[in-house]
C-alpha cells in the first residue's frame, strides 16, 4: 500500500544524508589540515626523538631580564642537598662563607623575617628553599610563545 507523500519523504531523507556525508568529508579534511596531536606528526609506529637536554651555562652570568628577577645560578646544582636538615647552597653563599669561598653573598633581604620584620642571623625559613626562585641558567627557548619584552 502506497501512501501519499511517500516520495517527498524519500527525497528529504536522501538530501539530508547527502548533506551530512558531504559535511563529514569536509570536516575530516579540515581537521586533518589544522590539528596535530601532542606527539607531532609522528605516526603511532614511530618513536619521537627525545628533546634536547639544556646544558647549564657555567661561563659567565646572564644579565637580569627584569628588575626584580631572582639572579640565575651560573653552575650545576644537580646533586645539591636542600632539605630540612641541610642546604648545601649555604656552604658557600651564606654570610659566614661567601667572602672566603668567593661566592656572591645572599641578599640581606633574605635574613629578614617577612612576618615579624626582625633581622635574623641565618636565612629565614621562608627563604630556605633557594630553588623556589633561583634556577640554573640554561639556553632554553620559551616552551610557549609570549609577548614579554625587556
Amino acid at each position: 500500500m502506497r501512501l501519499e507523500g511517500d516520495i517527498p519523504v524519500k527525497r528529504v531523507l536522501i538530501s539530508t544524508i547527502a548533506i551530512f556525508a558531504l559535511g563529514a568529508v569536509l570536516m575530516t579534511s579540515a581537521f586533518a589540515g589544522n590539528l596535530g596531536s601532542l606527539r607531532g606528526d609522528a605516526t603511532l609506529s614511530e618513536i619521537n626523538a627525545a628533546g634536547d637536554i639544556n646544558q647549564v651555562i657555567e661561563n659567565g652570568r646572564y644579565p637580569a631580564n627584569y628588575r626584580q628577577q631572582p639572579p640565575l645560578i651560573p653552575h650545576k646544582i644537580e646533586k645539591y642537598q636542600i632539605n630540612l636538615k641541610v642546604n648545601q647552597c649555604m656552604r658557600c653563599h651564606n654570610w659566614q662563607f661567601a667572602a672566603k669561598e668567593g661566592a656572591p653573598k645572599i641578599s640581606e633581604t633574605h635574613y629578614t623575617d617577612t612576618r615579624t620584620g626582625k633581622k635574623l642571623d641565618d636565612v629565614v625559613a621562608g627563604r630556605w628553599f633557594c630553588t623556589q626562585c633561583h634556577v640554573p641558567q640554561v639556553g632554553a627557548e620559551p616552551l610557549v610563545e609570549n609577548t614579554f619584552s625587556k
Binding site: 657555567e58 653552575h75 646533586k79 642537598q81 630540612l84 636538615k85 641541610v86 648545601q88 651564606n94
Partner: protein
C-alpha cells in the same frame, strides 16, 4: 698440667702429642706439611677477609642498607656514564694491609653496636649521624683522603677539561695542601644537620 694429663681427656692427649718432639718424622717433612697447611690457612683467612670487603656483605645489615646505601644509590659513585663504580669498601676500607687490618679490628665496635641496636631505626641513625660523619671526616683528613686517592689523583687531573670554577678551586686546593674531604663532604651520603657548623 700433670694433673690434666692424668685425666687423659681428648684435648689433653692432643696437647701432649703437640708438645712431644717427633721421633719418626723428618724435619723436611714437618716443614713441608707446615708450609702447605700455612698456605691453606693464610689463603682462607684472606678469602674470608675479602668476603667482608664486598658491597653485598655490607648490605646484609639493615642499618647500612636502609640508610647510607639508599642515599648512595644514584650518586656519581654508584652510577655514571662509564659504569666504573666505587662501592662501600672502596672508600671506607683502606687498601694497605696494615691499615686494612686496623680498620677491620675497629669494625668489631660496629658489631657491638649492631647487637646493642644503637642505630637500628632511622630516627636513631639521624641522632647519631653527626658523630659518625665527623668520625669519618676526621679519619679521611688524617689520612690525606687516602681512599679517594686510590682513584683520584691531583697530578692526573686534566684541569683544562674542568670548568673554570672547578679549575680555580682545585689549583688553589693543591697549593694550600688541602685534601679531598675538606670540600667534598656529603657526596655519597646525605649531610647531617649542623654539618657546616661542625666542620669549622
Amino acid at each position: 698440667m700433670t694433673e690434666q694429663e692424668e685425666k687423659g681427656g681428648f684435648f689433653n692427649r692432643i696437647w701432649a702429642l703437640l708438645g712431644r718432639p717427633s721421633k719418626t718424622t723428618s724435619a723436611g717433612m714437618l716443614l713441608f706439611v707446615g708450609l702447605i697447611v700455612g698456605v691453606i690457612f693464610w689463603g682462607s683467612f684472606n678469602w674470608a677477609l675479602e668476603v667482608t670487603n664486598t658491597e653485598t656483605f655490607c648490605l646484609t645489615c639493615h642499618e647500612m642498607e636502609q640508610n647510607v646505601y639508599r642515599e648512595y644509590t644514584g650518586t656519581v659513585h654508584d652510577t655514571n656514564a662509564s659504569g666504573v663504580r666505587a662501592t662501600c669498601p672502596d672508600c671506607h676500607v683502606p687498601r694497605p694491609w696494615i691499615h686494612k687490618m686496623k680498620r677491620k679490628i675497629q669494625a668489631s665496635n660496629e658489631v657491638l653496636h649492631k647487637i646493642l641496636g644503637t642505630i637500628d631505626t632511622r630516627e636513631k641513625f639521624e641522632t647519631h649521624r653527626l658523630t659518625m660523619a665527623k668520625r669519618v671526616w676526621d679519619t679521611m683528613k688524617s689520612t690525606d683522603s687516602r681512599e679517594c686517592r686510590n682513584c683520584h689523583n691531583f697530578d692526573a687531573m686534566d684541569i683544562s677539561k674542568q670548568n673554570s670554577r672547578a679549575r680555580k678551586r682545585h689549583l688553589e686546593a693543591q697549593d694550600m695542601g688541602k685534601t679531598c674531604i675538606d670540600c667534598h663532604k656529603g657526596i655519597a651520603h646525605e649531610l647531617p644537620a649542623d654539618a657546616f657548623t661542625a666542620e669549622k
